[in-house]
Amino acid sequence: MTTVDARGLRCPAPVIRLARAAADAPPGSELTVLATDPAAVHDVPAWARMRGHEMVGATEHDGVHALTVRTRA
């Protein structure tokens, strides 16, 4: 599983980093982005919907959100 570190970055940077990682990953990969920007919590699921990826998890610990998607197969 790939982890993308977007902590400290403001929107739309976390989504862009995740999208770059998704473009390089084989279909069906699980990717997790770490973000401190509160907008990422809403924008990662919205991006996944627009791109046909699947949200598989979202957790938060000490202000760091971990958002996991499975890329379109």
């Binding site: 403001r10 929107c11 739309p12 989504v15 862009i16 999208a19 770059r20 473009a23 920007d37 509160p38 907008a39 919590v41 809403h42 924008d43 699921p45 919205a46 991006w47 919907r49 627009m50």
Partner: protein, 380 residues
Amino acid sequence: MTHATAARVILDAGGRAPLLPEARTAFLEALDQGWADPRRLHAEGRRARMLLDGAREAIAASVGARTPEVDLAPSHTASLHGAVRSVVRGRRRTGSQVVVSAVERAAVLNAADFAGDRVTVAVDRDGRVDAQELCAAVARPGVALAALQHANGEVGTLQPVGPVHDAARAAGVPLLVDAGSSLGHVDVGDAWDLLAADAGDWGGPSGLGVLVTRSGVRRSPDWPEDEDRWFPGGVSVPAALAAAVALQVAVATRSADDTARRRLVDVVRTRVTSDVPDVDVVGHGVDRLPHVLTFSCLYVEGEALLAALDARGFAVGSGSACTSSALEPSHVLAAMGALTHGNIRLALPRGTSATDVERFLAELPGIVAAVREAWGVGGL
């Protein structure tokens, strides 16, 4: 770059529309005729009082209420705060819950948290509240107040105020309807017990809110006594008069304005979807305000987009976090599951021309593409 010839295109009239010419005239006249304190007993004071009462009477007529039911507030925010706080206090023996939709204005959500215990009901992808869940929440014991906007001012979606009002009435709970984005643009109907509206939004002056309270709604101030009981200190008489005049004009021209602006927004909706790649158009396509449209552009920074549009002569709004002082994006977009970055919020003022909209649509795709190019997101 030349600034002298660039005509501005204003597409950000939500809550602060350009002042209607009739309202401007009324405001200036009232500065001469109604400058005095309406609480004074001398001739000048009585004249100001007469103008103020006339404004309340006209506003009452425009919303189908009686004049004593109309209170004027120093802002829309103040009218919403006052409504929530006074009803929660007045009905404290019944309970402290304030049932709201997730997409109410921040003033309602914050006042509910401040004065009572907020119960928040979710919305669907179009921003429309789950009426069944809202009705069920209102019917539970311990509810002081329910609040549902007439329409959402950020995304335009109309809310099911009719069935919710029926359920609230059956439960004996008053319903506050925030018509701050609706009054003057659409018929707000009579499915409410308290109605709040914003003069700045319908083409009147800013700094004037309206709260209409049906007789029988129990309320009590939780603030110090004042001669102006519901909004201590009263309001500006010229602002009140100009607001009333603007509302009369807005209601009189509503039907024609509705047709013209609805058509323009339909054009924007279609063209943005077809001409801008990766755009999330937000809000209900049909059951909506005539003049409001919001969309979000993937991988685009809202602040950069606004700045680029502004430089090209376009004034638009945004619900993206980076365009506000807050770190949080629009709670409305978030509640709808919409993309929150790269957001553009349009509220067309009355009289927006097809030429202006066409110019915006002609330039938008290139501006979005340029912002994306600067971030190197092509092909993602």
